[in-house]
């Protein structure tokens, strides 16, 4: 029997395997469904825009894929808790709630990986190939994935019926991917107010990536706010989700 951290790590990876890799293999249509919107937006930006706008759509696509997959943890976590009682089955085992949340979150990343690979490959073809950009892209994608999946998980704990869960996942995904300055430059916001875009993790990540890719020149305050906001969101939401897991009801 494995014990300690190794057991918890294996438990997380196992959940990522059953809820990520296996689903990806047996239900690949989901990949098409989450890629439709970012690919459609890329198509329109390519037809009607210039190279800079296309690069923005590619960065937007990466953020949207990470966000929509991260948020979709909402449906899986609620399904496991309310309908199939998988969470109940696991509560009566030595798995820790943090390992459970991490496993579910990892499974979302596994699921997002084909879409992310496609958009990263297209971004490379479009010339987004500098080392600084690659580094910023990796950090921002991971931060967006973690924060959006943690938002999804925390919200899933509030639902008692599955009926309301599915629309909520779509609404959140679109609100987080389209409203903040992701598919448009933060510089269109009034000067002195660009930091508003950094109030949500997706907006903050986009602002950093747009800046590093040389697509926009954001104010120093806005850039600092974005980096701080992204770090704070990732840390706070991870903590909040771990606390919100109803491992034992009152």
């Amino acid at each position: 029997m494995r014990k300690g951290i190794r057991r918890q790590a294996v438990a997380s990876l196992t959940i990522a395997w059953v809820n990520g890799l296996v689903v990806l293999k047996r239900a690949p249509l989901w990949v098409v469904s989450y890629l439709l919107m970012p690919l459609a937006l890329l198509f329109f930006f390519r037809i009607h825009g210039n190279v800079a706008m296309m690069k923005m759509a590619l960065i937007g696509g990466i953020i949207m894929v990470a966000t929509s997959n991260g948020i979709s943890i909402l449906g899986d976590a609620a399904w496991f808790r309310i309908y199939v009682k998988y969470q109940d089955l696991l509560v009566a085992t030595p798995i820790r709630p943090v390992s459970y949340v991490m496993g579910l979150s990892l499974s979302m990343f596994v699921f997002a990986s084909p879409g992310l690979s496609l958009f990263i490959a297209l971004a490379s073809l479009a010339g987004l190939t500098t080392f600084e950009f690659a580094l910023a892209l990796a950090a921002c994608t991971i931060a967006v994935w973690i924060s959006s999946s943690m938002i999804g998980f925390a919200i899933s704990t509030l639902f008692k019926s599955l009926r309301h869960v599915w629309p909520m996942a779509s609404i959140l995904s679109l609100v987080l991917s389209l409203l903040p300055p992701i598919y448009y430059p933060a510089t269109v916001l009034p000067r002195g107010l660009q930091w508003i875009g950094a109030l949500v993790p997706t907006g903050a990540a986009a602002m950093i990536l747009h800046h590093v890719a040389g697509l926009i020149e954001v104010e120093a305050t806005a850039l600092t706010t974005s980096i701080a906001s992204l770090i704070a969101y990732t840390a706070t939401l991870s903590l909040l989700s771990s606390l919100k897991v109803r491992w034992r009801e009152e």
Partner: protein
Amino acid sequence: MVFIFALKLLKGLAVVGAVVSKGVWKKYKNGVVALKGVSFSVEKGRLVALLGRNGAGKTTWVRIASTQLLPTQGTVEVLGLDVVTDPWEVRELIAMVPQEGFPLDILTPFEFVYSYLLIRGYGRSEAKKLAREHLAILELEPYAKRTISELSGGLKKRVLVAAVLASGAEVLFLDEPTVGLDPLARRSVWRALKEAKRAGGTMLLTTHYMDEAESLADEVVIVHEGQVLFSGTVEEGRRAVGREFKVEVYGDLDVEGYEALRLRGVTIFYVNEGEGDEVLKKAMARGYESVVKPTSLEDLFIKLTGERIEEGD
């Protein structure tokens, strides 16, 4: 000094209950009182059936004992560990089939059992071996490579039971594991549970099937409206009825000298050997059908609650 030592020695030798429930109360936030001082204990290696109608409080108790729900008052100890103060130590020792639970339908039965065992901490080769063994015990081998979504509800339930039995946990909680199964599938689950019991497992099974309790359980705990009405062996339960036989008359009948119990158009008379002739004659004279049966746990339930168990919603 010698006296204290002797006392400690005696305490150590005494049979320690694998599961001990002491005065457990549960009041939900909406004001519903699901448990009202539930006390009983289960010895190691015994299979105990918690018998009661839907809504009696069985699931609430199981959820408390399996560390999923906090009691309002009282304690439950699993192998000497308090489920409220030592949940992580308890979780190392238990496994549970949740009521209305299903295995993940995108997986095959083998993948589900194997992944459950990996999550519990088994190594890969041992998990594979145990998964194969328990799928065979529950007669799931022919379906091992099909996805669970293709299986019937009964087979799905058996996959869940296979996973929990394969865990090798010292105490198993099985919340209505055979609901919705056809008679053959139920018997396959029963066989697996009997085998697990022979291997020394302690099991708590909730059910509202009398035949299940009578066939499997060493002891039964009858729960009704959040209270324990009876706790003892199946034989003690039968004896507690006070009569060896019952005469069920399908009609309304009164016979002098016999106490009658009326349940939805059926009049029941409890009798001993050599008694009851007058009942049968009078029923025949009225043209009512009548049946003589040996008394069972169901009669104890009827006697204690005035209701049949299967009338529960």
